[in-house]
Subunit: 419 residues, 2 copies
């Protein structure tokens, strides 16, 4: 574990990359543009950020982002490099909000760079002492969902808006009976006047508790409590009181202080939704890598982290999805792993299961499908069965086509879903 | 004022732009990929997002962002358009966190788009009723800073890290004596072990209160209280108790729930720092326009909003800076304007003053300079004087060069600072 805060960046610059990196280090620590009364070399040295390593990766003939300096006619080359900066933890103390201002603050706007992306961060143990991390993680989620050795099979309430509490509860009943382990609210539905949180939670939990009494299986429902602090507290307490087993929050809506508070008071796993992730990441030479970003939220308490899915309906390529999911399962600190359960979703069906398992090497995930369940020709129960069968096949290393020979739901799914 | 929530986007797509816009509207409201039991046309219609207007702007021969669909060989053209979507406020109620998930959620990742940027939002009056907006704004800030008719002249404590409480207080003393109206902590310095917030606040306020007793002028100091909720509360209360007149928070560190809480409990103006803004905005066909983004934070309570400065040291062009600053002064609602004071900073000196005033048409701003004050050859007091003189000239429509003839500090500044 590092004794300093470390951050890796992908940079692109028309200047000498080492000079540009030093400029970023200065901007984000004790640099001043003009000498200031009272500053001394010792004082600046104590707090200065350092360039730890710099590796040239290649060149580009045009700048990835506008506004950069240093270009000198049409023959300018823009060098790309991976650079690691480090800071003394004493600059900020083990504070997540201040960490963000330090590793992801003003430096994205510096004229020295025609591209800058935060790839990864590594934190001293002081951060592990200061934050609780996920309170439930994999084991706690498995215990509450009653699923031991295979992925948790999930789905989402759709349409995300339009349904009132009654319609949501009716759909939940159907989904419970279809054999799902996990159901989540959509990120667009929290406490809309047409579907108030309290009414929805009561109606849904009545269905889930009835089903649990009849079958012994309590389906995990992630109630979207995204809102202001007092609202989140009240909604959390209501879900807990009703016997619910999960709450959901939109990270970019709630923000870091909201998530830290939720992480501290929650007595239920937090299903963390990353909607808005696109604006943080989709420009390849700007913003955040998920590898860096998810560490902040895991430390704050996220038990489940959305990672998109293979062959998804969004713009993200598969290798990025796989890197995100693996990272969620990689311990952050030796004595506090802060492991979150990755949530695969978006256009998922039985077809993606073998590749997902091969890429992740683990069954510790939530595998969520919408159309992959609801559009199964034999109905939602067959949809769920097809996913269970696909995972049984993957976990026992049997090709899907072979397993489908005597598993009808899977066979029909493989015919139905083109990926 | 609209009765629905409206959002304007700049989009780029290889598909029919109207179809792509409808896909975004569906994704962000009642769209489902497969028919779902219980949904009805009435129910979907009630909640559906609508495309209000669509204006084709032009074409591009290559996609701005990777991962988009619809390209069909090398002769694909990508059309750009400005599109306005709208939602019934009943979908979410007047909730800022849920607004963000709705107007800035999953849509940035849709394959339909090779570019998508949120340009502006317009909110129904229900939002004005639900949030307080800035508690101090221009009038409250002017009253507390004791500056009536001209811009508030400010600077920043640098080096941002390295100084302990004693050094910070010593610099503050120098800056008070130099005639500044406003001083701010750097965004990198909140409560580091080498410069604890409480010690810094006590040391600095001793200097500021002494200066006020001697001169009658209480300099406004924006103490960076960025941190967790309880920390922010304690720090705010301490500043208030010590007679301080401003607190500062980094918006991207604190997040929306944190800022809403701070906005509710604060009894002091909130100086809102936008560090990290680059990762939200620097890719021209992705992310957020400041025009949209700053509305969220003003409604949550930001009294001062950073807007960069003309001829700044960052990558942002001047027209963008001007648009941001003007927007901060534009009322959001007829009965609750939520006007924030724009903060100009980054490489500012007397030279930029006339253009800044010409562009903004208002003296309701904080004009902050570092080197533009500290590097003045005749010292910081002359640096402050040069800015005051430059603003006197601009406000009375006298060219700087003329005014400099009998204003020595300004004359020296114009020689010294190349912009």
């Amino acid at each position: 574990m590092p004794t300093r805060i470390e951050a890796d960046y992908l940079i692109e610059t028309a200047y000498d990359p080492r000079w540009a990196a030093e400029a970023a280090a200065g901007e984000q620590s004790s640099g001043t543009f003009v000498p200031v009364p009272g500053e001394t070399p010792e004082l600046k040295q104590r707090s200065a950020a350092r360039t730890e390593t710099l590796e040239i990766l290649g060149t580009s003939s045009s700048p990835s982002l506008p506004g950069a300096g240093g270009a000198n006619g049409s023959d300018t080359t823009f060098q790309r490099a991976k650079v690691t900066l480090s800071w003394p933890v004493e600059n900020i103390g083990p504070s997540l909000p201040n960490l963000v201002a330090t590793v992801a603050g003003n430096l994205f706007e510096l004229k020295q760079f025609s591209g800058l992306r935060l790839l990864d961060i590594r934190l001293p143990d002081a951060f592990a002492d200061a934050y609780a991390g996920p309170k439930f993680g994999i084991d706690g989620t498995r215990r509450l969902a009653g699923v031991a050795d295979r992925p948790i099979i999930g789905t989402i309430v759709k349409p995300s808006v339009g349904f009132g509490p009654k319609e949501t509860a009716a759909l939940t009943k159907l989904l419970c009976e279809a054999g799902l382990d996990f159901i989540k609210d959509d990120e667009l539905q929290s406490d809309g006047p047409a579907c108030p949180f309290e009414d929805r939670a009561r109606a849904v939990m009545r269905v889930i508790n009835d089903h649990a009494e009849r079958t012994g299986k309590k389906v995990m429902f992630a109630f979207n409590l995204t809102g202001e602090l007092d609202q989140m507290r009240r909604r959390h307490d209501l879900v807990l009181e009703l016997g619910g087993t999960c709450v959901m929050a939109s990270l970019n809506s709630v923000g870091l202080v909201g998530m830290i508070e939720l992480g501290r008071f929650t007595e239920l796993p937090i299903h963390a939704h990353r909607n808005g992730w696109g604006y943080l990441s989709r420009s390849p030479m700007l913003g955040w890598s998920y590898v860096a970003w998810q560490k902040i939220w895991r430390l704050a308490g996220a038990d489940h982290m959305h990672v998109n899915g293979l062959s998804n309906k969004f713009a993200e390529p598969d290798d990025s999805v796989v890197a995100s999911a693996r990272e969620c399962l990689t311990p952050m600190f030796a004595r506090k792993p802060c492991v979150s359960m990755p949530v695969f979703s978006s256009g998922q069906s039985a077809k993606q299961v073998p590749d997902t398992y091969a890429a992740l090497g683990s069954a510790d995930l939530i595998f969520a499908a919408g159309g992959g369940i609801m559009a199964h020709p034999d109905g939602p129960a067959a949809g769920v069965a097809s996913l269970r069968e696909a995972w049984d096949a993957a976990l026992t290393r049997v090709p899907l086509a072979d397993y489908a020979k005597d598993h009808a739901a899977l066979a029909k799914a493989l015919e139905t879903y083109a990926t």
